[in-house]
């Protein structure tokens, strides 16, 4: 297939369609509105349903209902809207339903701003909702990767019956790059015998539920979830390493920030500093093994985020004290520049590195 030039937000929509998703429930919010707007045009053309919900709370509960019937369904929002969805997300995770939730992050807290940010990392990876659950969190860094991860996301969601979050920022959502959607797929190969579509002759009714009033039963349910999470952790981590083989300073960053970090590393290499970039693609499960592999020759790790420091905790947890971990962040919609990251790399290289 040939490439087309599209905005990241629209690519999320088209990639979902290419993955067999025909249902979208959402509520407008900057900077992701191109996505619902795109789908409000496209879905009716192909017999799908675009529905603007009365709120993010309603939207996530519509997704819950739709997912319960076994179809591929997606919703999308940005930071404040995602906060409103936390109860619903916890229900979806607790009831083990597959779906994709997109968060195109903006500056916070509160109303904040509408410029790019990565300050919802904790919320995405640690369960902003109540209870012990995890979302599979995918962080694309290019428009092409958006297309790939949306497809992969639906498959992961259905394989594990777990909600998947696509986590990006406004810059990624509004950026245009060429994209190749590859072949169309659907979720038909996954077991949907659990879906609530009417009994239709089935003997036992299907029930989608997360209530277990007896603690013994709820504990069994929680343990089953735990088993699933452990399996995902062991099987589904993804990461990219850029020039890390001999790197003394490894920059850990995800999404757009990781691409800027690559430019910074290019600058560093030009000055003879052995630097590299570690880019987790799955934020949960965090690619712990991959990070450790990417830092075998490292003297220090610099975590760069558009936040006050969130992923840096996963970097520290993964390294468990093995290497010094420092942090550089910009916030509020400000984007770290390659030069500023380069300066940090230089500083760390002088502090921890060998001779140039």
């Amino acid at each position: 297939m040939s490439k087309v030039l599209m905005k990241g937000n629209e690519v999320i929509g088209e990639a979902a369609i290419k993955a067999g998703c025909r249902y979208f429930f959402g509520y407008p919010i900057t900077p992701q509105s191109e996505l619902p707007e795109y789908l409000s045009r496209r879905l009716p053309e192909i017999g799908g349903v675009y529905l603007q919900a009365e709120s993010e709370v309603a939207a996530i509960n519509m997704v819950y209902g739709a997912a319960a019937t076994g179809v591929r369904v997606m919703t999308s929002s940005s930071s404040p809207g995602i906060s409103l969805k936390q109860e619903g997300i916890s229900y979806i995770a607790g009831s083990e339903l597959p779906c994709i939730i997109v968060n195109i992050m903006r500056g916070g807290p509160g109303l904040g701003g509408i410029q790019p940010s990565q300050s919802d990392y904790f919320q995405a990876t640690r369960g902003g909702g109540h209870g012990d659950y995890y979302l599979i969190v995918l962080a694309p860094a290019s428009v092409q990767e958006i297309a790939d991860l949306v497809k992969k996301g639906f498959d992961l969601a259905e394989k594990y019956r777990n909600p998947v979050m696509i986590l990006g920022d406004g810059m990624l959502g509004q950026m245009m790059e060429p994209v190749d959607f590859g072949v169309e797929t659907s979720g038909d190969s996954f077991d949907k015998s659990w879906a609530t579509t009417g009994k239709n002759g089935r003997k036992k009714s299907n029930i989608v539920n997360s209530l277990y009033l007896k603690p013994e039963e709820l504990e069994v349910h929680n343990r089953e979830l735990e088993k699933k999470y452990l399996e995902i952790k062991s099987k589904e981590t993804m990461a990219e390493s850029y020039l890390t083989k001999d790197a003394e300073i490894v920059v850990a960053a995800y999404g757009m920030t990781a691409r800027i970090a690559k430019s910074a590393v290019d600058m560093a290499r030009e000055e003879g500093i052995r630097a590299g970039v570690f880019r987790p693609i799955t934020l949960w499960p965090y690619p712990e093994k991959e990070l450790n592999a990417a830092t075998v020759s490292a003297k220090g790790v610099l975590t760069v985020e558009m936040s006050l420091g969130q992923m840096v905790e996963d970097v520290k947890l993964s390294l468990n004290g093995r290497l010094p971990v420092e942090f550089y962040g910009r916030v509020g919609g400000m984007v770290p520049t390659a030069r500023a990251i380069f300066e940090e790399i230089k500083r760390m290289s002088e502090k921890f590195g060998g001779v140039k």
């Binding site: 709370v57 519509m62 209902g65």
Partner: protein, 248 residues
């Protein structure tokens, strides 16, 4: 001898967990009878609420989804929009529907979602131990209005049928009661009409059933019937507030 009255097919064998004299049981039975009579059991998806009827999925022998508190209409929307051939009903209490779920019910009606809502109005939060609901009558004592509900502090009970009747999307709205056999029969008719309209694709239908919560009203079940008849029906008149003939 022919059986003229027995457990409907659309109910499971599970024993209800409801308190003695609680009307949830009557209303469950009526819904199930209607599903039987219209032959809908096999294609129905029920949405259980957060409230005393939280275990509805154990009682209705149809596919069921447990909704978050107040969000049943949104969940029902998600089901109906993806599977238009299913028959979808939500079963909700007054705290669930008229308090936390107000936006969802208004918008489901405004959109004329082709679903049926069974709205059990018992003027109180049963499940959580008898707190004030938006339908609690003035003067009624609850655990959070210990001296009786006062209009100066908390305003007036919400009449859901009357409120939704302002929406062109609401196709059928009726308020009934189950405090005596005659009204039980009428309630069943209303519920049947609501489902029938959904089958015909006519849009949003809701039946509000005045219902007793003897436990939290601190009344004997029989006494609670009188409270419905004398107090509740006084503020919440029975009747049909919207019918497909006049809708839209």
């Amino acid at each position: 001898m022919a059986v003229v009255f027995d457990r409907p097919k659309s109910l499971t064998d599970a024993k209800f967990h409801y308190c003695p004299g609680c009307h949830h049981g009557i209303i469950h039975r009526l819904v199930a009878e209607v599903l039987d009579e219209l032959g809908l059991q096999d294609r129905t998806v029920g949405i259980a609420p957060v409230g005393c009827a939280v275990f509805a999925y154990d009682y209705f022998d149809v596919d069921c989804i447990e909704a978050a508190h107040g969000r049943a209409p949104a969940v029902a929307t998600g089901v109906k929009r993806t599977r238009p051939d299913t028959i979808v009903f939500s079963y909700q209490g007054d705290g669930d529907l008229a308090s936390i779920g107000m936006a969802e019910i208004v918008h489901a009606a405004a959109r004329s979602e082709n679903i049926t809502v069974i709205f059990v109005n018992n003027a109180i939060y049963g499940m959580t131990g008898g707190q004030m609901a938006p339908t609690t009558l003035i003067g009624q004592k609850t655990t959070t209005s210990p001296l009786g509900r006062k209009s100066e502090l908390t305003g007036y009970p919400i009449k859901v049928c009357e409120l939704l009747a302002t929406l062109p999307g609401a196709t059928y709205l009726a308020r009934t009661s189950v405090h005596d056999p005659k009204n039980v029969r009428q309630t069943k008719e209303a519920i049947k009409k609501a489902f029938q309209l959904q089958v015909e694709g006519k849009g949003f239908s809701l039946v509000e059933v005045l219902s007793a919560c003897p436990t939290n009203w601190h009344m004997k079940p029989v006494q609670a019937l009188d409270f419905i008849k004398n107090d509740m029906m006084n503020y919440f008149p029975l009747g049909q507030f919207k019918s497909p003939e006049e809708a839209k």
